[in-house]
């Protein structure tokens, strides 16, 4: 009876906390990307780092498939739960089956800063956990949406003719910090560090990230660059065992400009490479981390669908993707034509990090575990 009215976190099991030896980083080469524009031979020119530097260090599964709805939230939800999801495409509902974050933290009794979702997609606020009675908030991942913070701040900066606009980057950064003080949940963030407020340490980390980001003379301006920056900060300061990094710039394809779509693919390729290099530079990650890189879904084909600009036809081009894995426990310089599904990622991560993954549609990738 009590579980109907007492806060759920009071009922959370708190077994002895044990951080695993291994780390897993799942990167969505995200926003929807076509096989022909990436891993197919004619697409290699767009993914030079993956094709010539990362694939030789690991294993490639060129015949991966996304099954289920071809929207960003549901396809990524399938990645982190191992089961097809059919919830609101705009992210107003959480996944309906337990996520790897919840399963991992619950079984291991780990604190919130052991599992993170850093997402460019602004609708991913509920990606960190289901709302199932046995799981949910007490075990969910921290979720931060850096681009959403940026957009809200810009909106606020241009909403009045008073004060500096978007050209004054220092002022913009200060606005962002102010926004974090006033209530980060307004941006869709879910950070479980200490109740409903950002801890001083975490806030300091984010502040440093944002200020560095804006003070960088190269002035990176894409959402994925900011996501990458925040990911590095979180890795540096918390060294979480489980990370989902959602790159999403590629979805600019919706603007119908093929060159911008290709630019975003090349940027994602570079950021994945830099992320791996960063992991190798940190003692807490070097030699113990497995990186899985996978598009959450494809995009429409030119003839059967509506072309690269969309991903709603459900045709084969929307579903055909690939997966590259490298790092700890992964054979090097190999590949397999064995068909796999994106839903296999979740049970594979479970085996890598050593927690149980009950009742899901995916199967662990035997080549990695």
């Amino acid at each position: 009876m009590a579980d109907w009215w007492l806060p759920r976190n009071l009922f959370a099991q708190r077994p002895a906390s044990k951080k695993p030896e291994r780390r897993a980083i799942v990167v969505t080469f995200g926003g929807g990307v076509r096989y022909e524009d990436t891993l197919a031979p004619e697409g290699w020119v767009n993914i030079p780092h993956l094709s010539s530097e990362l694939v030789p260090q690991g294993i490639v599964f060129p015949a991966a498939r996304h099954e289920g709805l071809t929207g960003h939230f549901n396809s990524t939800g399938a990645l982190v739960t191992g089961s097809r999801q059919n919830v609101d495409a705009y992210g107003s509902e959480p996944p309906v089956t337990p996520t790897i974050f919840e399963l991992f933290r619950k079984e291991r009794g780990l604190p919130p800063d052991e599992a993170w979702v850093i997402a460019t997609n602004k609708s991913f606020g509920l990606m960190g956990g289901s709302k199932l009675r046995q799981f949910g908030d007490p075990y969910s991942a921290n979720v931060v949406l850096p681009k959403q913070l940026l957009i809200k701040t810009i909106k606020s900066a241009v909403s009045t003719n008073a004060g500096p606009g978007v050209e004054d980057r220092q002022a913009l950064a200060e606005r962002m910090m102010l926004a974090l003080d006033e209530g980060y949940e307004g941006f869709g963030w879910k950070v479980y560090e200490s109740g409903r407020a950002l801890s001083a340490e975490l806030r300091a980390s984010l502040a440093k990230s944002l200020l560095d980001y804006f003070n960088d003379p190269a002035a990176p301006t894409s959402g994925d660059e900011l996501t990458f920056f925040m990911t590095k900060e979180i890795m540096n300061r918390f060294a979480p065992s489980l990370l989902l990094v959602n790159f999403w710039d590629i979805d600019i394809a919706h603007y119908g400009a093929y060159s911008l779509y290709l630019d975003a693919i090349r940027r994602t390729d570079r950021l994945v490479h830099e992320l791996w290099q960063h992991a190798q530079s940190l003692p807490s990650y070097r030699d113990r981390t497995t990186l899985l890189v996978v598009p959450e879904m494809g995009r429409d084909s030119d003839v059967a669908g509506n072309g690269f600009a969309n991903h709603r036809s459900g045709d084969e081009s929307c579903r055909r993707v690939w997966l590259v894995a490298l790092g700890a426990g992964v054979p090097t310089g190999t590949g397999t034509e064995r068909p796999i599904r994106t839903m296999d990622v979740a049970p594979t991560v479970a085996q890598i990090l050593g927690f149980k993954m009950p009742e899901c549609e995916g199967k662990p990738l035997i080549e990695l575990v």
Binding site: N86, Y90, K147, L150, I151, I154, K155, A157, V158, N161, G165, V166, E167, L172, A219, T221, G223, H254, Y255, G256, A257, Y258, S259, L260, L262, D263, D302, V303, G307, F308, A309, N310, G314
Partner: protein, 436 residues
């Protein structure tokens, strides 16, 4: 299921004539037809003809055969509980039915059944709508002068299709002279080029419109992304205001957007009747990126025109798009205040990559359409480039080196002969390899 569609005029008469059929069809199919009939005053003639033909063809199918053909859809509707939807307005019924189909995980199966249903009746429909002796059609796609064309990669998607025709530009290197010669503009520049009299022209900038400004005919349709700037700004402002005031759901926002009646300023369109104004609004609202990227507007508007208006001649002209501005472009519907404006920087190289893909998509869309398939000559031109790509039912695949250079006047004569349009005083000769 009985709907209350509140139809008037021809649409009401058509629904009355086929009331028994509409009641017999699965509710989702019946609702789809009624929603189209509700739009009757804003449909193009080919769309109205399609609805008439659809009801005619369906009504000629014996009842038992029709029931059998639609049984899959009816079964899925029953599984989803669509009969429990009390809504009698067909558009709102559609929304609710789609919602329950998605909720029950039946949407894909339903969609497959609907596709199958229409595939079975398509041959009869197409035979009625697109007879073999239907007139020939022409689609011309032009890359504007400012695009950084890479000759060795031009029309790359058509490597093994069509004929590459060498051109003798005859000194027509600037856009105005090039276009005037290709379309046979009278020397006096006092009248619309005869070839464009009944065409649809859709362009990123307005060089083609400039050829037609003097006395546009009622049959000439022109859409220019640049000339629609104030209309786009008005639309953007209105949508942004709605967002700021709060929207209850994406569906409610879409319904609000569809209901907008914004009038383009004088001169923004060559003609601006209600059907066209609604068409432009829908192009800007339904096409991803059409508000932001000029060439995307051209491609999407062309694809919609091919599908809906089915013009006999369509001319697209692509231009250079601006580079996206950091930060300010992140907020889709808001407009930066003047102090936040960054200088406009053009992207000629990226534009070339874009238009290669977009012009290919226009061709793909035309070839999907039975009105165009097998009856259309496609010409691809780039201003200032002495080569043309031609694809057509009578065109071979001759490499450019095998053909003598054609003058721009010859290109004009080829189009005129294909469409059987006289060009008074025209000096060109049709290119024999492209048409019989």
């Amino acid at each position: 299921m009985q709907f209350n569609a509140e139809l008037t005029g021809d649409a009401a008469a058509l629904a009355r004539t086929h009331s028994e059929l509409l009641a017999r069809l699965p509710a989702t199919v019946s609702a789809f037809i009624l929603v189209e009939l509700q739009k009757w005053p804003l449909l193009f003639p080919p769309e109205q003809q399609y609805q008439r033909a659809l009801l005619d063809v369906l009504s000629r199918i014996p009842s038992s055969e029709l029931d059998q053909s639609a049984a899959g859809i009816a079964r899925i509707e029953a599984d989803a509980g669509a009969s429990r939807i009390g809504e009698r307005n067909p558009a709102r019924f559609q929304d609710e039915a789609q919602a329950v189909l998605r909720k029950r995980g039946l949407f894909v199966a339903w969609r497959t059944e609907v596709d199958g249903f229409f595939q079975r009746i398509d041959p009869a429909l197409e035979a009625q709508l697109y007879p073999a002796d239907a007139p020939r059609r022409l689609i011309v796609q032009i890359y504007g002068r400012e695009i950084a064309v890479q000759r060795d990669r031009m029309w790359n998607r058509f490597k093994r299709t069509g004929a590459r025709v060498p051109l003798d530009l005859g000194g027509a290197t600037d856009a105005g002279e090039f276009l005037a010669t290709v379309f046979g503009a009278p020397r006096s520049r006092g009248a619309v080029p005869p070839l464009l009299n009944a065409a649809w022209i859709i362009e990123a900038h307005d060089a083609l419109h400039a050829l037609c400004d003097s006395k546009p005919s009622d049959a000439l349709t022109g859409l220019s992304y640049d000339r629609l700037r104030s209309y786009r700004d008005d639309l953007t402002r209105t949508l942004n205001a709605k967002i700021q005031s709060g929207v209850e759901s994406p569906q409610a926002f879409a319904a609000y957007a569809r209901s907008l009646r914004i009038t383009p300023s004088p001169g923004a369109m060559l003609r601006a009747d209600d059907v066209l104004v609604a068409f432009v609004r829908d192009v800007l609202l339904t096409g991803n990126g059409t508000m932001i990227v000029n060439n995307t507007f051209v491609e999407w508007a062309a694809a919609q025109a091919l599908r809906r208006a089915q013009p006999r001649m369509l001319v697209t002209r692509y231009g250079v798009r601006d580079k996206l501005k950091p930060f300010s472009s992140m907020i889709m519907f808001s407009q930066a205040r003047p102090t936040d404006h960054l200088p406009v920087v053009q992207d000629p190289a990226g534009s070339f990559i874009d238009v290669e893909q977009l012009s290919y998509y226009v061709w793909v869309n035309a070839e999907k359409n039975p009105a165009y398939r097998g009856k259309t000559l496609y010409l691809f031109l780039a201003e200032g480039v002495d080569e043309m790509l031609a694809i057509g039912p009578e065109t071979g695949t001759a490499p450019a080196a095998k053909m003598a250079p054609a003058r721009l006047e010859d290109v004009c004569a080829t189009m005129a002969r294909w469409l059987d349009v006289p060009i008074p005083g025209g000096s060109g000769r049709p290119i024999a390899q492209l048409i019989n």
